[in-house]
């Protein structure tokens, strides 16, 4: 990883403040280093296995940049990213929507500069620091006040696997202005020899203004030797809604971390997730919901199915500030172990400084119900099929959290049936 810290010529380096921002990222990443098992926030997901891999960061290197052939079975305004490079964006964008490559927005749109790093704190998150050090690609998405987007925006991030271990670094800034409504879909996939290693490092900074709402769906299906680290930082203003759903299925080591700050009265968040994996993967879902003002609500439902020698990790935190009364925070994590060597580690956390609140969290861990399995098999359904049915049924209620019907059926279909017990 150390080679990443050497100087690379990046777009916009001629701007002193941007050059300094990248330098600060390098310093912070060097200072914090890659987290180890002793780092409380990374206790169960040990990214130090990356220490042994020397990822190359070369955003305009020897890649062929053709728009990836990824077909999404629903209508969307599509943005294509290939091997960490922003390639193209559909040009039929409706009015009220502005999309620019991030560096361009930083250079030519006054104000965007202030959004950079405003939510994602590089002094606390080593991979946000790495992201800042390698800041070169990403999208700036701006939905103007009152706009109601009919079709979702789809950020398609595709990797064509190359024969060296590369780092793909993306940073998106999403602004939803007053009373606007939008849906954003993030898709991560790959083609090529699935054994190659690469690392995707994402930082999203999302602001949802008063009365606005954003539905954020993500489906992560990276190559099984890949690393996928995503930090979603969200700030919601008065009466705003941020609702997210993330399905993680791929990668060798994946972490989807979502931090939501409910900064003003009656802001609401719903953060749901599902994961399903086997092999040797570690999939981590980390959430941190901060209730700063009264009347804010949040709910979380996370469900996972783990087979093989895989490991599922959930860390969830609900923080309620001293003045945030009449708040509600709910969290439930349920996981199922399918094999003898699978592992589940859960750390839910409540941090409450106000008395007039309703908060709860629950966690449960179990396995496939033998009786249900017997019931299906006694009706002539083969074992593997019966198990598959029960697993999909188990994940069904969390899938129901996806409001958009087309996206829901896409995600359900993508869940697939490639999971031997």
């Amino acid at each position: 990883m150390n080679t990443l810290l050497s100087d690379i010529k990046l777009v916009g380096d001629e701007l002193p403040w941007l050059k300094e921002y990248r330098a600060a990222g390098r310093r912070e990443f060097a200072r914090q280093g890659i987290p180890t098992a002793k780092t409380e926030a990374w206790k169960y997901t040990k990214p130090n296995r990356f220490l042994s891999t020397d990822f190359v960061f070369d955003p305009r290197g020897n890649n062929k940049f053709t728009v990836p052939a990824v077909n999404l079975p629903f209508a969307a305004h599509k943005l294509y990213f290939e091997n960490g490079v922003f390639l193209s964006c559909d040009d039929d964008l409706p009015s009220g929507v502005e999309i620019l490559p991030l560096i361009e927005a930083l250079m030519f749109r006054p104000g965007v500069k202030n959004k950079l790093g405003a939510l994602a704190d590089m002094t606390k998150y080593p991979f946000a620091a790495l992201n800042a050090a390698c800041l070169n690609e990403g999208a700036y998405i701006h939905i103007k006040a009152g706009t109601r987007l009919e079709k979702p925006l789809a950020l398609i991030s595709h990797v064509t696997v190359v024969d060296r271990a590369e780092l793909y670094n993306l940073h998106h800034i999403v602004e939803i202005d007053e009373n606007a409504t939008a849906e954003v879909v993030e898709y991560y996939g790959y083609t090529g020899a699935p054994k190659s290693s690469y690392l995707v490092n994402i930082v999203n900074e999302i602001t949802v203004a008063a009365g606005a709402s954003l539905r954020h769906y993500k489906f992560q299906d990276e190559a099984f030797k890949a690393g996928h680290l995503a930090l979603n930082t969200v700030k919601v203003a008065a009466g705003g809604l941020y609702k997210s759903f993330c399905l993680q299925k791929g990668a060798d080591l994946a972490r989807n971390e979502t931090q939501v700050c409910l900064a003003e009265e009656n802001a609401a968040a719903e953060v749901d997730a599902a994961y399903k994996m086997n092999g040797w993967a570690t999939i981590d879902t980390t959430t941190d919901i901060e209730h700063l003002k009264s009347g804010t609500t949040s709910s979380q439902l996370i469900k996972g199915v783990v087979g093989g020698q895989a490991k599922g990790v959930f860390q969830g935190k609900i923080h309620i500030a001293p003045d945030a009364v009449k708040t509600e925070g709910y969290q439930l994590h349920k996981a199922m172990l399918l094999s003898d060597e699978a592992e589940i580690d859960v750390k839910p956390e409540l941090e409450i400084f106000a008395d007039d609140v309703k908060c709860s969290h629950g966690a449960a861990c179990g396995r496939l119900d033998a009786e249900q399995l017997f019931y299906l098999r006694s009706r002539g359904i083969p074992k593997i099929e019966a198990e598959q049915m029960l697993i999909n049924a188990y994940l069904n209620d969390v899938m129901a959290k996806v409001d958009n019907e087309n996206i829901r059926s896409w995600i359900k279909l993508s869940l697939g049936s490639n999971l031997p017990a």
Binding site: A335, E343, V346, I352, D355, G362, A363
Partner: protein
């Protein structure tokens, strides 16, 4: 090395802590500071065998290389371990042979605390008591009667002399000195504590009890309790603690080790009422305790019940290591913090054997400016087939300035395990309060009624005498927190 301890009673303004008095007794106190010589001196004063001194010195050496943990949600000024005295004992010319020879002032102290040391006065519910005053055990009652059954109940210093084989076999086997910072410190400097051995097939005829009292100024109390329940035995053990009201903080770092063998059962109940400091957070006991039970045998059972109302700072995680097949562990806890108190407490359940079960019921009540954290771990190792855990943590907040936190860790490596965890946080419902008020019950009384109801699931696991004391304590602890 010796100094007289004649201190006036501390300021009693705003006194709700009725055990805040100081006993004026001549004490043999080692001067402040911690080094290998102090440990040798303690060991020498207690007439210990060489193996124990060596063990202490090894612990001390290890401790010197350790860092004080900072992961708990606790804020306190750095403790200067060199400013404390590590040994204080009430001065006695000759060792007492029976209760009648024990210093009268000491007996009066325990009388004031309501601890029955005079055997003849004890009522129907018979309890044998080992009283620990500052660093040493002053009296153990009912020894003869217990000896008839083969039960050994004495101070740990005495056990080192009389039953060295048992002590050497089990001391540090559940909590090794390398375990954590405070346990390591305790291993180096522990001064006394209780020792219990219940022989095979014996159901201890009475409840055993230890009463800890910190009296002397600027001393740390480091006691160590070792309980061994041999095959098919049963014992119920109670622990109580108080300290005088002083402006400066007192340090208490204890260890409790319990070994439970085949089919044996140990029930350990604590009412912790160390001085919590005044309403501005001045003074109070720093309570850093390591308690752990190892269910080594099949069908072994251990249950921890605790009522935590005292201490300025509580750092305590009574744990169960469920090694034997079919063994079970239970943890029932009520923790109440008020004013500036801070508590970071919970439990650990480590499932190793097959068919092991554990249950955790934790009730936390925070009021005033206090902060409380439930921190727990449920761990299922790959071999622990059919492990079962149920955890319930409820928190109640009284007032807008307090905090309540929950940090449970769940680590599961076995697919046959079934784990459930629930946690809730809320305030006293206005409806419940209204219901009580409209029946003419005052606000404070109504709150205590609701709080007692909230804690009932835990309280019913306490032995009778303790349950009554605990209920009273809860009311006292919450005084002034409403309205």
């Amino acid at each position: 090395m010796e100094e007289k301890n004649n201190i006036a009673i501390a300021d009693e303004s705003g006194d709700k802590y009725k055990y805040g008095f100081v006993t004026d007794i001549e004490a043999d106190t080692v001067s402040a500071g911690l080094n290998a010589d102090v440990i040798r001196l303690i060991s020498h004063k207690k007439g210990e065998p060489d193996w124990l001194l060596e063990w202490r010195l090894k612990a001390f050496e290890f401790w010197c290389g350790m860092k004080e943990p900072s992961w708990a949600k606790l804020k306190y000024d750095k403790i200067d371990y060199q400013s404390l005295s590590y040994y204080s004992a009430p001065k006695q010319k000759v060792a007492p042979k029976s209760l009648s020879e024990v210093d009268k002032t000491l007996l009066e102290t325990y009388d004031k605390l309501g601890i029955p040391l005079k055997e003849q006065e004890v009522l129907a519910g018979v309890v044998a008591v080992d009283a620990v005053f500052d660093s040493v055990s002053v009296a153990t009652t009912y020894r003869a009667k217990l000896a008839e059954k083969g039960v050994i109940f004495c101070s740990i210093s005495e056990a080192v002399r009389e039953h060295p084989d048992l002590v050497q076999k089990y001391l540090g086997s559940v909590v090794p000195y390398t375990d954590n910072f405070f346990a390591c410190l305790n291993s180096a400097v522990f001064t006394d504590g209780s020792f219990v051995y219940i022989p095979r097939g014996v159901k201890c005829p009475m409840e055993l009890s230890t009463y800890f009292r910190i009296n002397a100024k600027n001393t740390g109390q480091f006691e160590r309790t070792l309980i061994i329940a041999d095959d098919d035995s049963y014992v119920s053990y109670l622990e109580g603690c108080t300290a005088p009201q002083r402006d400066e903080n007192q340090l208490h770092a204890a260890i409790v080790e319990i070994v439970v063998l085949n089919n044996a059962e140990v029930k350990y109940s604590t009412v912790q009422n160390w001085y919590p400091g005044d309403k501005d957070g001045k003074g109070g006991v720093y309570n850093f305790v390591t308690k752990r039970a190892a269910c080594r045998g099949e069908n072994a059972k251990v249950s921890w019940t605790q009522v935590e109302t005292g201490s300025a700072i509580t750092w305590k995680y009574p744990s169960c290591v469920l090694q034997g097949d079919n063994s079970s562990g239970e943890f029932y806890s009520v923790a109440i913090t008020n004013n500036r108190q801070q508590a970071d407490t919970g439990t650990k359940m480590i499932h190793i054997g097959k068919n092991t079960t554990s249950k955790i019921i934790s009730k936390g009540i925070s009021a005033g400016f206090s902060n409380q954290t439930y921190r727990g771990l449920v761990k299922v190792t790959p071999g622990a087939d059919n492990a079962r855990n149920y955890t319930q943590c409820d928190s109640l907040l009284i007032g807008t300035t307090c905090g309540s936190h929950t940090v449970p860790y769940i680590e599961n490596r076995n697919k046959t395990a079934q784990l459930e965890h629930e946690a809730t946080t809320s305030k006293i419902s206005d409806e419940q309060l209204f219901y009580c008020r409209q029946r003419g019950i005052g606000e404070e009384e109504a709150v205590s009624l609701i709080v007692n109801g909230f804690c009932k699931e835990v309280m019913q696991h306490l032995p009778m005498e303790f349950a009554i004391e605990a209920a009273k304590l809860i009311n006292i602890s919450l005084e002034g927190s409403v309205g």
